[in-house]
């Protein structure tokens, strides 16, 4: 409730003077003019003569530039226009995204033949039309300059590969397979998880052709332990389906299932189903964890425990439940600081047997077996957790990777084919792998971008980007998905599967290498086709998939009689779902021996423990080279472009760090590996725990990913058959130096004049007292109405009641803070990336940011509220009346318009915006100007003395600019910009209606953020249409409020108050909880 104190950072909580200053200054730094005009001695380094020179030069240059003749522009139409391409009109293709860790059924939006945006496919029951941030960002990788241009063979082991033709490559490689196989040498296909049934079949065929072929799968962030534990408990090495939509109680032990764990794209929408307090009941979500995760910040009850205690807590929960069910108890489990909460959790779970889910994110077989035991006792199998349609997302085995390395050491392996993984970086055995693989004679890499594994590969056979390739997928048993390309391959690449198909042939046919484009052939008139038979280069794998579907999937259904009809429908829809209904296997786990294993590892714990985690943006490091995702602020720390050591507030005090010491560099040592990283003091981090994100510190990558952060994979140890992400002993030593981490949390803070608790930024409450909350909102809003009776613009209500009035509703209860909307906005609206240096100067350009507020007194475990903040399109907009040139003004449809070509860049509007949502183009970040000197290389680095970013631009080049949305102006230097409510989509929707002479239907216009949101927290539409979803959402819900409504801006974006499912006592406890108590607990635990 609004009596809570809300804060966004420790600096704010402590009223740090630097913070106070920044809060009042929209633009934190002074204009560079000062440095130009003054130096310390009071003497200007710029003399009067210099000044005159500059003036003279500028005027001459401007005159010359202005009097230039108009350039002659060319318009080059197709020779034979493909029928399906309408110039200037977007075409959508249903396809499939799977990158080795996340799956999504998608629609590729293509404009004039190039993919520019990814949308979620509403026909999929898995991601249900939503997407996660990484899926949204994946389109940028298609246009990455780091991509390999074609096949190459390395002659000199140290040098780069020498480009060859595919024919030459195949001539060289084809005989080797037979040769190696004949000699009985193993040929390994090393991949991350493959969920394509056709590819799997193909690998089987390949094995049949060459009997020594072995397929080894591993996952960079491993789920090996979960799989192995299921094998032990159920005799089946697979991961069950989790029905978060069916569970009333969710207990997670460090599993970030909304952000990174297993399948966030599937779990987030399911989770959101039961988070609507209007229905009178909500699911109850309890999270035990060490690092504050995205999931933990959404929990109703979050318990911060250091990793060793977390493991013990799991055992204690087992014991509590076992005592109720009568199962044998685990003996001698040490106490944990959270025993009372565990007891309560156990009571709740026991009461709701069969309706709960207990999961654990620790990659160790023992913990996973205990969790299996718990779920079995609770009777969850077959109800909320089911093997009927088991998921295929992760199939890797850490053991097999280790075994492969041993085999390579022993020179058993003759050839290795590395596809969709980066074994020289993305696992803790990378160094060992690098050494052992040199014993292999034939080393083929299929990576389509340069990466660390290039160092050992001899043959580069770059595969297509997924947007260029045909594919299929079976993410869960019986859920099939087809992937079609959105563009012809940009570079001379060949799909991995096509390479395998080629190498399975007995000989090569040079005629196959005529890469004539199929679509162009299709456009040829009939006469041309019949008279000259084109050597069709059709992906052979396309035919392979089709044959596979005909044989295996088509017979599953009876709706379509002909395969062609079935295929066309599946291709059009992108998915074909026929959930499998296999019987759940019988549980036969051995909990006691697993518990012994846990107790022995915990027994060796030190004062500080280290956990490794994945960030929502770049995942396991695969997206380290994606500037959109690098610049996406981490939902919790709000840091961009870096990894760091997370430390709890109390530990920071122990190490003598003040709030201003953010970024002090420490050396962390664990498991025999040392790394120097800056510290970020993070509220919510469990005392005694350090956390470092994986996936950073790439040494071979494109410009964006290179040397950003430090590599944390080597910290992992290989124990108990899997890679461990928890180190129970870590040593910290202070280096005394500082490093600036670019964090956005203190940028664009909504000013509250120190009285946040009295301003209506956030409303929140608890489920049992929902009526109290809604009553409070009502009371407040009526008060505001009274204050706001006067208006500056009388008579406009009538204007806004005509035509459309675009409005948005954001449900803070559904919003999980994942940032998918922010990346979707990047892609849709050509929002530029500014780079780390500029982010640290508060120059980031995100139109949509997600504010993260802490509340509560407990610094080790505050509550968190996420609030997506974008232009509120106020009907009484304070920005509009301060613009001296009327560049920003109001439309009759209630939109706060921004005319870039009229803006002169006074920045008055940004200064006057109470929501701080306006962004200024300090540089030409996307190459809009014709004057190249205005372009800002976004990774210039060097400002903090650490020139580790290389130089040059990332976004301003011909290839990367292909991702730009042609319907949205690319803003040039010196103009203001902000959210436009996706005006291009509004206009497109209206035009479609006008052309058809019908009224605009609700849902015709969706903003990019609404489309991307995996939990459907955002609703957008015409507020003047009383039946529209947005109007009903805003008007019918008692939770609706408007941010700082009391200042009478009359925003068009309404928010719905956050509600947590917890009892009043728990809530009181959370609010009262003081730090000293936490410390006491900790001491108890150690004693």
């Amino acid at each position: 409730m609004d009596t809570n104190k809300y804060w966004q950072s420790l600096e704010e909580l402590k009223s740090d003077p630097e913070f106070e200053r920044k809060k009042y200054d929209e633009f934190p730094e002074k204009l560079p003019l000062a440095s130009l005009m003054d130096d310390q001695n009071g003497k200007s380094p710029t003399s009067r003569r210099d000044f005159l020179k500059y003036v003279g030069f500028s005027i001459t240059a401007a005159t010359l530039a202005a009097s230039c003749e108009m350039p002659v522009r060319k318009a080059i139409p197709y020779v034979f226009a493909p029928e399906q391409i309408k110039p200037g009109t977007a075409v959508y293709y249903a396809s499939t995204f799977y990158d080795g860790s996340d799956y999504a059924s998608i629609l590729i939006k293509t404009r004039d033949g190039r993919p520019i945006k990814i949308e979620g496919n509403e026909r999929s029951s898995i991601n249900k039309g939503g997407t996660i941030a990484r899926v949204q960002g994946s389109v940028l990788d298609l246009y990455n300059n780091n991509r390999k241009q074609g096949p190459a063979i390395k002659v000199d082991p140290a040098g780069p590969g020498k480009p060859v033709s595919w024919l030459d490559m195949d001539k060289k490689l084809l005989p080797q397979f037979g040769f190696l196989s004949g000699k009985g040498k193993e040929i390994t296909i090393l991949t991350s998880t493959i969920i394509s049934p056709s590819t799997k079949k193909l690998i089987e065929d390949f094995k049949a052709k060459y009997p020594t072929v072995k397929h080894v799968q591993y996952d960079p962030v491993s789920y090996s332990a979960l799989l192995d534990a299921n094998k032990a408990s159920f005799g089946k090495r697979s991961i069950p389906e989790y029905h978060f939509d069916k569970a009333t109680h969710i207990v997670s032990f460090a599993a970030d299932f909304l952000g990174t764990w297993l399948a966030p794209g599937e779990f987030a929408p399911d989770y959101a189903v039961n988070r609507k307090p209007e229905n009178g009941k909500m699911s109850r979500h309890i999270q035990f964890e060490s690092t504050l995760s995205l999931t933990g910040s959404n929990a109703d009850l979050r318990v911060a425990l250091k990793p060793s205690d977390l493991k013990l807590a799991l055992l204690r929960l087992y014991n509590e439940l076992a005592s109720k069910s009568g199962a044998p108890l685990i003996s001698a489990v040490p106490k944990t600081p959270a025993d009372d909460k565990i007891k309560k959790t156990a009571d709740e779970l026991w009461k709701n047997r069969g309706n709960s889910i207990v999961i654990c994110g620790i990659n160790n077989r023992n913990e996973q077996e205990i969790v299996n035991g718990i779920n079995e006792m609770l009777g969850n199998y077959g109800k909320t957790i089911s093997f009927a349609s088991a998921c295929n997302y992760k199939q890797g085995s850490d053991k097999e990777l280790a075994a492969l390395i041993t085999r390579m050491k022993n020179k058993k392996v003759g050839g290795i084919l590395i596809h969709n993984c980066n074994p020289l970086f993305d696992n803790s055995m990378a160094a060992e792998f690098g050494k052992a693989v040199k014993n292999v004679n034939m080393r083929i890499s299929f990576a389509n971008a340069h990466n660390e594994t290039d160092a050992i590969a001899q043959y580069f056979c770059p595969t297509h980007h997924y947007l260029e390739a045909w594919s299929d997928a079976e993410p869960k048993k019986g859920y099939f998905s087809l992937g079609q390309p959105g563009i012809r391959n940009i570079f001379d690449t060949r799909q991995f599967e096509d390479s395998l198909l080629t190498w399975m042939q007995d000989g090569l046919n040079p005629a196959d290498y005529d890469t004539q484009d199929e679509t162009e052939n299709a456009a040829l008139p009939a006469s041309a086709k019949s008279e000259k038979k084109p050597k069709a280069y059709r992906s052979k794998f396309y035919e392979y998939i089709q044959a596979y579907w005909k044989e295996n999937i088509f017979p599953l259904q009876s709706k379509f009689g002909s395969f062609q009809a079935f295929w066309d429908k599946a291709l059009h829809d992108g998915v074909f779902e026929m959930p499998a209904t296999e019987e759940d296997p019988v549980y036969s786990g051995d909990v006691i021996s697993a518990a012994t294993g846990i107790k022995s590892t915990v027994g060796m714990r030190g004062d500080m423990e280290l956990t490794l985690y994945e960030k929502v943006g770049i995942g396991n490091g695969q997206y380290a080279d994606n500037p959109w995702l690098q610049e996406l602020p981490d939902p919790i720390t709000k840091a961009t472009w870096d990894n760091y050591v997370l430390m709890s507030v109390s530990d920071a005090e122990k190490f003598g760090l003040s709030a201003n010491d953010q970024g002090r560099v420490f050396e962390v040592e664990a498991n025999g590996y040392k790394v120097k990283l800056p510290v970020v003091v993070q509220p919510g981090q469990a005392a005694g725990t350090l956390s470092i994100a994986l996936g950073y510190g790439r040494t071979v990558s494109g410009k964006a990913g290179m040397h950003v952060g430090k590599n944390a994979y080597p910290f992992q140890s290989f124990k108990n058959g899997s890679f461990q992400n928890i180190m129970h002993k870590a040593v910290l030593s202070d280096t005394g130096t500082h490093y600036k981490v670019a964090r956005t949390q203190m940028h664009h803070v909504i000013n509250s004049e120190g009285k946040l608790n009295q301003r209506t930024i956030i409303f929140e409450g608890i489920l049992p007292e929902l009526e109290h909350l809604t009553g409070h909102i009502k009371e407040k809003r009526e008060e505001f109405k009274k204050i706001n009776e006067a208006t500056l613009y009388p008579g406009f209500d009538e204007v806004y009641s005509r035509g459309h009035h675009w409005e948005m509703s954001i449900d803070l209860n559904a919003c999980i803070g994942c940032g998918a909307c922010a990346i979707a906005c990047h892609a849709e609206n050509n929002v530029p990336v500014v780079g780390k240096t500029e982010v640290s100067r508060a120059h980031e350009m995100h139109w949509m940011r997600i504010d993260r507020y802490y509340t509560g007194e407990d610094m080790e475990n505050p509550d968190i509220v996420f609030q997506p903040m974008l232009c509120q399109h106020c009907d009484n907009a304070p920005c509009e009346n301060v613009c001296p040139v009327n560049a920003t003004n109001h439309s009759s449809e209630g939109l706060n318009q921004m005319a870039y070509n009229r803006c002169v860049g006074t920045r008055y509007c940004a200064n006057n915006c109470p929501y701080k949502v306006r962004r200024f183009n300090w540089y030409d970040l996307l190459g809009a100007d014709s004057i190249a000197g205005n372009e800002k290389p976004i990774m210039d680095g060097g400002v903090y003395g650490v020139d580790n970013f290389g130089s040059g631009d990332i976004m301003v080049n011909e290839l990367t600019r292909m991702v730009l949305n042609p319907d949205v102006t690319v803003r040039s230097r010196g103009v203001m910009e902000k959210c436009s409510f996706c005006i291009q989509r509004i206009q497109e929707g209206k035009l479609a209606a006008k052309k058809e002479g019908r009224e605009l239907r609700d849902g015709d216009v969706k903003s990019a953020c609404m489309q991307a949101c995996p939990t459907h927290a955002i609703t957008f539409g015409d507020g003047n249409d009383p039946d529209s979803k947005v109007a009903r959402s805003l008007k019918e819900s008692d939770r609706t409020y408007y941010v700082i409504e009391e200042i009478n801006t009359r925003p068009s974006v309404g928010y719905k108050a956050k509600v947590r499912n917890r009892s009043a006592e728990e809530d009181m406890e959370r609010k009262k909880h003081v730090r000293s108590e936490a410390d006491n607990h900790e001491e108890e635990a150690h004693s």
């Binding site: 108009m70 034979f80 040829l524 008139p525 035509g803 005006i983 291009q984 019908r998």
Partner: protein, 437 residues
């Protein structure tokens, strides 16, 4: 009482004319159907890809000895699917097919019957001005000129302005002479009175003169500078040389090919699209040389007669070998047209919005294209020009379902007669983010 008598006939007349209009509009216009379906291959008065259609009705009638109704039936069948008739062995059908080098005519299986009947009617009566009145290109272009505002008004105003200037100049000269005369006279009279006069200074050293000249100069230069600055980036009447000397006058004017046949994206997409070579090849596969001298003279067309040079360029682009009658894919090369209509990047313009939703004639913005031998930019394409049109143009408010909901106020006002139409501006058509985003 008087009123009542006066009102009735009016009411009836309106009703009848209304009914007539409805009746008339339900009937498809034969010329329109011809233009959009047949004109790419047929002309009335001379052969093109297909035979001249003038007298076709009579030819069929006399060959088979049909009556009118039978002839219509035969023609309908032929238009729907001529190949079927040929295969069935219709004697006349086979004869035409063979005469025209066995080039099959497109079939129009799904064309509505009333359209076909309308076309047959047009074939019979195309040169009957009572049924098909002659439309002039100027008629269509007239509103454009008004909306443009820049080019119009000049022709009427020139003579008046000139007269005024002459008048002003002569008055100035007269007053100068008079002033001089009085000055000299005064001087003479003072001299006669014996006054001592100061030495006369030349007039150009006088302060007044210097000030006057500087003011005039500064105003002139300033005016010219502003004028020059305003026209920066404007390309009105821009008519660059194109890689192929394509004549809109020949294709759209004389041959009456519908604009939307080639610019087929104009009614469905953002860009009108410059046609790809395969569109040209639809006809030019068969039409391999330009019109002859007589034809050129008749329609006052520029360029050499029987020209093959320009058409050869199309063949080169399409990779078409006219001798072997086949395409060579590897020889294809797109035509690099010089783009005439350029809008700045920050302007969003959508053709479909104007052509399909707004029902604006192409000529309104592009001028009488059917008279242009060389394509040029007709409109200034400035923001002022756009806005003027948006202020004046009325929206098709009552006939588009889009406007039914949410605009009650305007519907009421229209019904009451308070306003006589809803302009684009009234529904927000001059707001920034309708074109700039």
């Amino acid at each position: 009482m008087h009123r009542k008598f006066n009102k009735w006939p009016f009411f009836l007349l309106t009703l009848i004319s209304l009914l007539l209009t409805i009746g008339a509009s339900a009937q498809p216009d034969g010329r329109q159907v011809f233009k959009s379906n047949c004109a790419t291959c047929h002309m009335m008065d001379r052969p093109l890809t297909g035979p001249a259609l003038d007298g076709a009705f009579e030819r069929v009638k006399s060959f088979h000895g049909f009556d009118d109704e039978q002839t219509v039936q035969w023609l309908e069948k032929w238009i729907r699917n001529s190949q079927a008739m040929i295969q069935d062995g219709d004697e006349y059908a086979v004869q035409i097919f063979n005469e025209w080098n066995k080039v099959p005519m497109n079939s129009f299986v799904s064309l509505p019957e009333e359209d076909i009947l309308a076309v047959i009617d047009y074939i019979q009566n195309w040169n009957n001005p009572e049924k098909y009145p002659v439309k002039t290109a100027q008629a269509a272009a007239a509103p454009a000129a008004e909306a443009g505002g820049t080019s119009a008004g000049a022709s009427g105003g020139v003579s008046t302005n000139l007269l005024l200037i002459i008048l002003l100049v002569s008055l100035l000269v007269i007053s100068l002479i008079l002033a001089r005369v009085t000055k000299v006279l005064g001087k003479v009279s003072r001299e006669m009175e014996g006054e001592e006069l100061p030495a006369e200074r030349p007039f150009y050293t006088s302060k007044k003169f210097v000030i006057l000249v500087s003011v005039v100069l500064v105003s002139f230069i300033g005016f010219q500078a502003v004028k020059g600055a305003v026209s920066l980036g404007k390309q009105q009447n821009y008519a660059p040389d194109q890689p192929i000397k394509y004549s809109h006058k020949l294709h759209a004017g004389v041959l009456k090919i519908d604009c939307k046949y080639c610019h087929y994206n104009s009614f469905r997409g953002k860009t009108a699209s410059i046609p790809s070579v395969n569109v040209c090849m639809n006809c030019h596969k068969y039409v391999n040389k330009g019109p002859d001298a007589a034809f050129k003279a008749q329609y006052q067309l520029d360029g050499p007669a029987n020209d093959t040079v320009e058409i050869a360029k199309i063949y080169a682009a399409a990779g078409w070998d006219p001798k072997k009658q086949e395409y060579h894919k590897d020889k294809q090369k797109p035509v690099e047209w010089v783009r005439i209509h350029n809008l700045p990047d920050h302007v969003y313009f959508n053709h479909a919005q104007h052509v399909t939703a707004g029902k604006i004639e192409c000529q309104t913005c592009h001028g009488p294209v059917e008279e242009y031998e060389v394509m040029k930019q007709f409109a200034p394409l400035t923001m002022g020009w756009c806005i003027t049109c948006h202020r004046e143009t009325k929206v098709d408010f009552n006939n588009n379902g889009y406007y039914d909901k949410y605009f009650e106020k305007y519907h009421e006002a229209l019904d009451k007669g308070e306003i006589n139409g809803v302009t684009v501006e009234m529904i927000g058509g001059t707001e920034c983010q309708k074109c700039h985003y």
